[in-house]
Each structure stands twice: as structure tokens, then as C-alpha cells.
Symmetry: C2
Subunit: 266 residues, 2 copies
């Protein structure tokens, strides 16, 4: 079984990390579409075009199951990707909403994500389907702060405090009684500890990366490796492989030895 | 005379604004390659590919003079663009270095810019050609902060204080005695007042957007408009025209009525 994992850049590596932990024997091919990142501030049509070409590339590399490890692409392009490739496709939004459903008692859920994910209201729709109410807020600075490496940094703390204070005030005005917050961007797990410190203890944090890995593991049966052959783990990026290695190591939590540069056009 | 102005997104509108002031009678065609922004964190090969296709588009629209209103594209792709199009091409780096030369007494210059511009050392090379020494520093968070609209915001003040304190300490270690700072990214003019407040009064700030417009005005002779025909000002973007109108208005300092969406592939 070859699992293709795709993100616009590095955030999807938090999903891949969770998949390595849960399904260590599978083969993996990861694509970071770094030449065209970030998706989070772009339109539906543009994100769908980029995501479809990326998913097709993974199928060409032998992937027989695809994880869209990018909330923006899952929100804006899941149907387009499913139409374009002949293998099962799982997005992080549905799995994040499933995990929220399993966690909440009040039925009221907060979601923080990129501008594009929030504008799509994909989380609100997925929550509504499950009988939950969701309040979504865009936090556009969290991705650049994470990519600058400012984790546990006073500026990031201040930005988080601003966003989360606004989120709690805005959602309270709508009459919601949230007890669950979904990290609706695969960069955000790196900020999880800081986010948890700034929330009332009554609000639990859901990491959609981990929820996605759990759902993949529940779906697929991966035979134990037979003898000498160790599983294949291949990385592709559409921009600087040096930067991918350096920054990717932080997201994956382990070194990335080799990244192949590919050109998807554009 | 039709002047084509190109940037990866919105920053180039600060150059266009300066051009409107100096050459109000010219026709303008502006392209923001917003589907592929930001260029500032991408590799030379990727930026050159994007910038060349953008410049060709402007020539196809009738531009007979091109201003690369993007420091990253000027740093990484000026020669490639000059090879690819049959009209004169002016980049912002050379003009910024010219302005620094006209301003400095000590011959020592500071430059703040995106990661890609700094890694190219294009400003250092352009300064060296003019007998100046330059110390360059990447400030990756300033573009996202500006695009979030956090001008005169406490977080932006804090980020600027961190970057500028580091810049002064690092450049002092190299023995430089800088008296000039070049804003080496066309987003930064929006932060000029905050930047000036954080620098010693002995350091003057050069805005490469304005320096570029001055150089264009000195080069071109634009006949006064004849009678009823008002000059044409056309805007193209490769991603959401709604976002371009909203955010672009802030950079241009006046409303943008109409933006045409185009597809450059990718």
C-alpha cells in the first residue's frame, strides 16, 4: 500500500508524522507544492487547479490512497480531486469534524484556519452535517510565524492572544457555548501548547492532523513488512529542496534526507 | 507610452502610486501575479520562470517599457526578463542602489528585504559596483503583517523593533557605519513611519519605490494628453480580483475600480 500525502508546503508533514506513528509499515510518497504555496490566501479556482495537478502527480508515482494533508485544499478542492483521480481521497476537514463530534458535549465548536479555509465555510458545513454548530476564524499570521520558526516566541504568543481573545468574544456574541477548538490548518499543531495555555480549561483542542492519521489507520490494513524490504518514503517538492529539508525537519520531527525537485508547471 | 508594471502581488502598487504622481499622463498596465505569490521565499529558478511569463504578458498587452516593481524578481530574474522581452526593463534594485549612493556619506548602507532578495545578495552586489558597502537582513514577517493590514499595530511595532535591533547589532559587528537604510521590498513603504521611529536619527530611509519612479520619470518623456482622451490604467491579477481590489486600494492609496483575472498557467 502506497499512501500519497499532499500539502502546499510543510504543514502536511504534521499529518505524515502522525501517519508514520500509526502505520509505520506503509510506503509513502509526499508532495509539497512549495513553488505555489501558500494556498491559504488564494481563490477556489486557483487552489483546485493546483491541488488536482498535485494529486495526479502522486497517482503517477504509484499512490493508491491519497491524503489531502492541507485544510485549504480539502476545503476548496476535495470534490475536484476525487473527480480527477481513480483512488480513494481523504481530506482533513471531514476527519477534523468527525473528531470534533467525538469530543464535544455542547455541540458547539470553534475552528481556526487560513483565510481561504474560513471563507469556504467547509468546517461549518461539515459540522452542520454532524449536528454541530461551528464558529470559524481566520488567523493569517500563524503560518508565516511558524515558518519563521518563531515557536514559543513572544510575538507569536501575542498574536495568538489577539486571535484567540477575538475568537472567544466573537463566538460568545453568537450565543455559542464551545467546548472544542479544531486546529484547522496543518501548521497549527506546532503551536498547540501555546494555544492550549490561552484557552479556558473547558475547551479541548482537536488536532486534525492526528485525527486524519487515526482515520487512515482505521481504514487501511497494512501487511507487516516481509524480510529485508523496508518501506519506501519519498519526498517531492516543487521549489527549493534545501529549504524543504531544513524547514520540513521541524514539521516532521525527524530529518529528511533526500527531496526530489519536480516541476508541475506554472 | 504604455508602462507595464509587474509585481508578485500588491507591493508593486507602491511603485505604481509613485509613477502616477510623477508621470500622470502615461498609460499603465499593472500585473499582480497573485496566484503564485509570494515570490520572496522561493528559489531563483521558480521566480525567474514566473517573472518571465508575467513580463511577456505585459508586452502582449502593449507595454513598451517594463518596471519590475518587485525586489525579489529584480534580484533573481532581471537578466532573464531582459533576455525574454524586446522592450526596456527597469528593476527596483539598481534604482534603490542609485538612491542609496546619492544619500550616503559614510558609504555604508543597510538593506531590509525578503529572504529570497537577501539570499541573492543583489543589493550587496549593486552597492559594491557603486563603491558602497551593504549589510542585508531578511525580514520575512513584514509582508504578511502588511497584508493582514496590521499597519501601526503593536505586534508589527514589536516585530520591527526585533528586526531593526538585530540589524543594527549585526551590522555594527561587521564594523560598518551605516547612515542609510534601503527599504528593499515594495511592501515596506507602508511601514516607513514606524521604521523611521525605530532608527537613530543619523540613518536616513530610502524608499526604492519612489527612487524607481524618479528614475523612470527622468528617462521617459510623456507627451501631455491631447484633448478628451484620458490615460489608460489597466489592472490584471492571476488570483481573486476581489481581494486585489480590497488590498490593492491600501497600497495604491486610491480605489481600484476594475481588475481583470488572467491565467498564466501553473
Amino acid at each position: 500500500m502506497n499512501i500519497g500525502v499532499f500539502d502546499s508546503g510543510f504543514g502536511g508533514l504534521t499529518v505524515l508524522r502522525a501517519l508514520f506513528d500509526r502505520l509505520p509499515a506503509a510506503d509513502y510518497v509526499y508532495l509539497g507544492d512549495t513553488a505555489r504555496l501558500p494556498y491559504g490566501a488564494k481563490s477556489q479556482a486557483t487552489v483546485a487547479r493546483y491541488a488536482v495537478s498535485s494529486a495526479r502527480f502522486l497517482v503517477d508515482q504509484g499512490a493508491d490512497y491519497i491524503v489531502i494533508a492541507c485544510n485549504t485544499a480539502s476545503a476548496l478542492a476535495l470534490d475536484a480531486i476525487r473527480d480527477a483521480v481513480p483512488v480513494p481521497v481523504l481530506g482533513v476537514i471531514e476527519t477534523g469534524a468527525d473528531a470534533a463530534q467525538g469530543c464535544t458535549n455542547s455541540g458547539d465548536v470553534l475552528v481556526i484556519a487560513t483565510a481561504a479555509t474560513v471563507e469556504s465555510h467547509a468546517y461549518a458545513a461539515a459540522c452542520r452535517k454532524r449536528g454541530l454548530r461551528a464558529y470559524e476564524k481566520a488567523c493569517p499570521l500563524l503560518v508565516p510565524l511558524t515558518e519563521e520558526g518563531w515557536i514559543d516566541h513572544p510575538v507569536t504568543e501575542e498574536v495568538l492572544a489577539i486571535y484567540l481573545t477575538e475568537l472567544l468574544a466573537e463566538s460568545a456574541k453568537t450565543g455559542l457555548k464551545p467546548d472544542t477548538l479544531v486546529l484547522g490548518c496543518t501548521h497549527y499543531p506546532l503551536l498547540r501548547a501555546s494555544i492550549e495555555r490561552k484557552l479556558p480549561p473547558t475547551i479541548k483542542v482537536i488536532d486534525s492532523a492526528d485525527a486524519t492519521a487515526a482515520q487512515v489507520a482505521a481504514t487501511l490494513t497494512i501487511p507487516a513488512p516481509t524480510g529485508e524490504e523496508s518501506p519506501q518514503r519519498t519526498f517531492y517538492a516543487t521549489d527549493s529542496v534545501q529549504k524543504f529539508r531544513n524547514l520540513g525537519t521541524r514539521f516532521l520531527g525527524r530529518p529528511i534526507d533526500y527531496v526530489q525537485l519536480i516541476d508541475l508547471g506554472g
